[in-house]
Amino acid sequence: MSSAAADLLARLPGGSVAPASAALGRLLPVLPPLRPLLPGGGLRRGTTVEVGAALPDLPPARGRAGDGAVGGCSLLLALLAGPSQAGSWCAVVGVPGLGGAAAAEAGVDLSRLVLVPAPGGGWARVAAALADGFDMVVVRPPAGEAGGSVGGAAADRRALSARVRHHGSVLLSLGAWPGADLRLTASSASWEGLGDGHGRFRARRVTVSSGGRGSAGGRPRVVGLWLPASGAPLAALAPAPVVRGEEAV
């Protein structure tokens, strides 16, 4: 279903829409350049989205140049900007280094952004408490538990996903989340504006790929973006987006 058709359906009065399409009305809007990445053109309520990042205080085990995903935090802020401008409340749990100035520049409304930088061991409990009341909840599962599929961490994750599904919020994970409905990864970034001892960061070209499972994930899509663009926090790449997989959305 194309994003234009989704917009049209969302504008129809609720009573005349079939139940399956009514679920599309429960989409949180995102900034236009990100729409091609998401099935339905928005963030579906109740889903869990994994945003790929490699935060440098945990150096990646294999640090080959060009390996690993970059642009996780700014991609996350770009995802938060759309719903925040539409009036949703956003909560960030366990990410003490999220740049507030970058959030403001991305378009996140700071008066509706709440941070819990140090939840301690009870991050899942805090996120579950926030899932009822906040439309967007960002968590960062501690590294080391990401690979486990049994044990307390996995049970926490399943319970949190179920809680988010029940309350109709969106859970964004800044780190590996096995079982996420949608997975967004930013890769092959290249900065523009810096020279050899002069200039400054102006814009960055990033390739963002999305994949997932079930109806929330859809087919794998790849889109090129300016993240950030010069003069704007996010912009689509001017030439046609690079698409892998079936036809362009």
Partner: protein
């Protein structure tokens, strides 16, 4: 839920002094009837309180007027007079205050005081309670006041009704058989009964976090009361000074009506200020000062959160009590007085003046010139309990206020788990470094001014980095020959950087760089001076870094993640 240590439990010991049927007793005294006459006070068409003789004849609370008169033919039906109740309770409070400091008035007829001092002085809780009850009985029109001792004012009030002294640590067992109606939250009580939890003991057996998640912070508060714990949240809040409100009455009010009328907008302002920062007041100090400098202050405790109307009522009660039944007129001012504000000295003869060194506040001799409200104890203002079957997903077009309320409820729960400073919100501030551009304010505190219009020469230009580690990461920057890159005092770079290693990780080749951008801040103050040189570096894996060189060491200040 762990049981508190014995010392902590003993710390909350409270003596409550309760005078039974206070509204009826005072109404009987005011109407001039003999003390043993059967009488009932009606409120809203139903019996609110009745004297002992009426109760013996079968009159109960909640009966309609006709039914009560049928049961007790000689019943005198009297209207309720809150002012009279407050006025008549003032001598009782003064009598209790003479033996034990720090009296808190909950409502006319019930006051509490901490048990630590009196227990030591009178040789035990039971002795202190008996002494205070005797003092109170002698001072009031009621025939007998009862006192009870327990942990916390809620349990102490129930103990006073039963006239019991609950042993140390025995409050949960004492509270367990009481029905949930004593919590005075009819919706919650109804819900609990339908869930099969008719007693406080059954309610207290539930895990606290689940109760808060289901019923909100008010339900959590009730849960703590039912368990016999201190209902105040674990993170004690200091009241910021801007929450104290006061008004100077000029010319001073010489009638209670005028002072109470001036108190109403003051109460509204206090309530608005507290609500603006998401707080509710559970204990309020009201200070009244006359133009002669006589000061009368009292602590009022409220079970729950005080509303603006409740605050105004208490100011009126305090004024009524202080004046002691002079039909609202304060003593007339002599002609020699010219001051309009409170003056410390009390020179000159005044008609009906109380000696200035009298310990108990006597009747005031001048008009009320200053009213001050001091919120003594504040809690994060939660909302009423959520319905179990409330619809959870809000539509995208829901009113912003509704979303803000839901968010506020969730935040109250999290603050109950982690403490109030753990939840913060970001406010734009001014600064040069990436971490200075934003200030983090705990949720519930005032957000403060957002001043970003001032120019900050040398600040990091947009786009701002998305990841700013809480502490800068150590890094190593080397040039093509492997020597560390240095910057001369004239800001000349020794050699172009070639490789960057972050926090002991592998070296990444540098693709492009820019700098140095010096930032020499607060050079006039040796203690807080910060001088560093900043660089922007792009490495070949596509990452962007904001590096800082200070004191010859390289740091990663931010990552353009």
């Amino acid at each position: 839920m762990s049981t508190p240590a014995p010392e902590a439990r003993a710390r909350g010991r409270t003596i409550a002094v309760w005078s039974p049927d206070w509204p009826a007793v005072t109404a009987v005294a005011a109407a001039g009837l003999p003390p043993g006459a059967p009488a009932a006070v009606l409120a809203g068409g139903a019996v609110l309180a009745c004297t002992a003789s009426a109760r013996a004849a079968g009159v109960r609370r909640g009966l309609r007027r006709r039914e009560a008169q049928h049961r007790c033919p000689g019943l005198a039906v009297l209207p309720r007079d809150l002012a009279e109740e407050a006025r008549a309770f003032e001598p009782v409070v003064v009598a209790v205050e003479a033996s034990a400091p720090g009296v808190e008035v909950i409502r006319p007829g019930l006051c509490t005081v901490s048990a630590r001092g009196p227990a030591r002085y009178f040789g035990g809780d039971a002795g202190a309670a008996a002494h205070l009850a005797a003092q109170a009985s002698a001072a009031g029109p009621g025939d007998e006041c009862r006192a009870g001792v327990a942990e916390g004012s809620f349990a102490a009030a129930l103990a006073a009704r039963a006239g019991r002294v609950v042993p140390v640590g025995g409050t949960p067992e004492f509270l367990a058989p009481y029905p949930v109606d004593v919590l005075d939250r009819p919706d919650l009580a109804d819900l609990l009964r339908r869930l099969g939890l008719p007693t406080l003991g059954a309610f207290a057996a539930l895990p606290a976090a689940d109760v808060v998640a289901r019923f909100g912070s008010d339900g959590g508060h009730a849960h703590r009361l039912a368990a016999g714990l201190d209902p105040r949240p674990p993170a004690a809040r200091r009241v910021p000074p801007e929450l104290v409100v006061s008004v100077v009455l000029d010319p001073p009010a010489d009638r209670v009506e005028r002072a109470a009328f001036a108190a109403r907008p003051l109460a509204d302002e206090l309530h608005a200020r507290l609500s603006a920062v998401g707080l509710g007041c559970t204990r309020l100090g009201i200070e009244i000062e006359t133009e002669r400098g006589e000061c009368h202050s009292r602590l009022w405790r409220y079970e729950g959160v005080l509303s603006a109307a409740a605050i105004a009522d208490r100011v009126r009660w305090q004024l009524d009590g202080w004046l002691g039944g002079t039909a609202g007129e304060l003593a007339s001012r002599p002609d020699t007085a010219g001051a309009a504000g409170p003056s410390p000295g009390r020179r000159g003869a005044l008609r009906g003046a109380v000696p200035s060194d009298a310990p108990a506040p006597g009747r005031p001799t001048g008009g009320v010139a200053l009213l001050r409200l001091v919120p003594d104890e504040v809690v994060p203002a939660g909302r009423d309990q959520l319905s179990l079957w409330s619809a959870s997903g809000a539509e995208d077009e829901a009113a912003g206020a509704e979303l803000a309320e839901r968010a506020g409820r969730a935040l109250a729960r999290v603050q109950g788990l982690l403490g109030q400073p753990a939840v913060v919100t970001a406010v734009l501030a001014g600064g040069r470094g990436p971490g200075d551009r934003v200030r983090y304010v705990p949720w519930g505190d005032a957000r403060g001014p957002t001043a970003v219009e001032a120019p900050w020469p040398g600040h990091i230009p947009a786009p701002s980095p998305a990841y700013v580690p809480p502490a800068p990461l150590p890094a190593e920057v080397v040039d093509a020959s492997g020597a560390p890159v240095a910057v001369s005092p004239r800001y000349a770079v020794s050699a172009p950087p070639a490789r960057l290693a972050v926090a002991g990780g592998p070296a990444r080749p540098v693709q492009a760089w820019a700098g140095p951008w010096p930032a020499d801040e607060r050079w006039w103050d040796a203690a807080t001076a910060q001088a560093c040189v900043r660089f922007q570096v792009a490495t070949s894996d596509g990452a962007g870094w904001l590096l800082a060189l200070a004191d010859g060491r390289w740091w990663v200040e931010a990552v353009y993640d």
